[in-house]
Symmetry: C2
Subunit: 296 residues, 2 copies
């Protein structure tokens, strides 16, 4: 790694840990030549989240940071409030459960009932009363320089990660100016976002001056979660859905997509963007180094 790369790595507060043996598994197979090969594949295991005595959800996850995942999930579902006092976080690796206990008594029986009726599929679970919470969000003025975008993508794509080790995984990085602060990965894109939200809440980190980078598509759900974290800028290697764009414009979120090499498209909130870098000085991604989203 280059000196500048090492310096950037040391500035991470949390970075992926591809060396953790619990997160991947060696598997033997055959390649296109018929030769035997050994590769590593990512784990995907259930984690059942309880809020006090109530079972809320079972998420499929790689299994790192169960505490941040549970906190972030409950926050993003509006079941844990920002001013709640969390009295205990009990993780049981064997039972694959985590219990978040709060000073406030909670009961989301009715909300859980509602969820079946109104959603159930991947991208539907944040609708409903979460949309109301979104209306209270006022995203701040903030700056985004194209030079930061270029440096961020280069840093994130070359950071040692489960993605580079085993593929088939999503990544999310919370950044300030041109420096990624925390970089979470998970088999579910939602989970990587929720871990970020959990970390921000636990550490009392404001989203005001942050940039959220994701490898996933810019759907309405991603826009909602980013806005609820109070982060005014969302950038991705991937493309957009129409409702993601529509919602970003409604809440005033800066939305950057198809960010690869020197190229990107901004479809919302361009007033935060300053074109301070010469795109022609940015090389296109080398074929093999280029991250291709989760679906490597």
């Amino acid at each position: 790694m280059s000196e500048s790369g090492k310096k950037a790595m040391s500035a991470y507060i949390i970075a992926p840990n591809p060396a953790d043996p619990t997160l991947t598994r060696p598997v033997r197979g055959r390649d296109h030549t018929g030769a035997e090969v050994d590769i590593r594949v990512v784990e995907e295991r259930p984690l059942t989240i309880f809020l006090n005595s109530q079972e809320i959800v079972t998420a499929m996850t790689i299994g790192d940071w169960p505490d941040l995942l549970a906190l972030g999930y409950l926050l993003n579902q509006n079941m844990l409030h920002r001013d709640d006092a969390v009295t205990a976080v009990d993780f049981d690796a064997e039972l694959e459960t985590i219990v978040i206990r709060t000073a406030r008594a909670t009961n989301y029986e009715q909300k859980l009932q509602k969820k079946i009726r109104t959603s159930g599929c991947a991208v539907g679970t944040v609708y409903g009363d979460v949309m109301e919470a979104l209306e209270a969000v006022a995203l701040p003025k903030a700056e985004l320089r194209t030079s930061w975008l270029y440096r961020l993508t280069k840093l994130i794509n070359t950071t040692p990660s489960l993605y580079l080790e085993a593929g088939a995984i999503h990544g999310c990085a919370l950044c300030e100016r041109d420096q990624p602060l925390v970089y979470f990965e998970d088999v579910g894109r939602h989970n990587a976002v929720d871990k970020t939200a959990g970390w921000m809440w636990r550490e009392g980190v404001s989203g005001d001056d942050k940039i959220f980078y994701t490898t996933g598509r810019l759907t309405s759900e991603m826009v909602i979660k980013t806005a609820l974290m109070g982060v005014p800028i969302l950038a991705s290697r991937s493309g957009f859905t129409a409702s993601g764009v529509e919602l970003a414009r409604k809440v005033g979120l800066t939305l950057i997509g198809r960010l690869r090499g020197k190229r990107f498209v901004c479809l919302s909130g361009e007033e935060r963007l300053t074109w301070d870098a010469d795109p022609d000085a940015i090389s296109d991604e080398p074929r093999e180094a280029g991250r291709k989203g989760a679906d490597r």
Copy 2:
């Protein structure tokens, strides 16, 4: 398009229709040079599926083939049985609902209750009693030649599609030997699979001699859905999760991943595979033509 390309296209029973104006929306933004650009982005809209008088789920979908999506979803959830008589399929575009009516009286109140408790996240909704259905599956002997794999990926990646038009979308193709028969796309990978299952059931198509190609990752959920469709071979451009591999080995499914250019890895069911092509005669993917999964 080349003559062989045209011939392959005409052999599709269902192919993507990127020209359908209801599936994408033109959006204006700015690119990396600061210039104004107009791009097309895919739609993502709710579809609420009813089985007889019961509301089952709201899926977020691009909106084509609502009938096949609803049928396939209910089949894959084991709520519609393979021997059920469907008496009506009522789609209401304005209300964004579809009602599947069956001769058999149905009531899945209890199952819907269970779903909240045991899952809720993206990849969790097929667990539970679906695992029991999986145990009854016996996948047939079948053949897969590497020459077919190479031709299939080339054909599918060059077929005019919403992916090539707007990105941010998953695709699934059901194939026989070296010919794709139906090719569905959707913002949710699950939906593209469910449309395939719906089509197979409606047309009485057996999975025995088929190959299922997906752009998404090879998770346990993808393995389950493929096995339930009776298809013995699953191939993807993307990578694997450990539980996907484990489950494929358990049910005897041939699992091919990281299929790009001449390269691939087979991690399960290699006894169906014949290496009849010379990989060195296959060119690596040209940089821009290469499909990068949904997350373009």
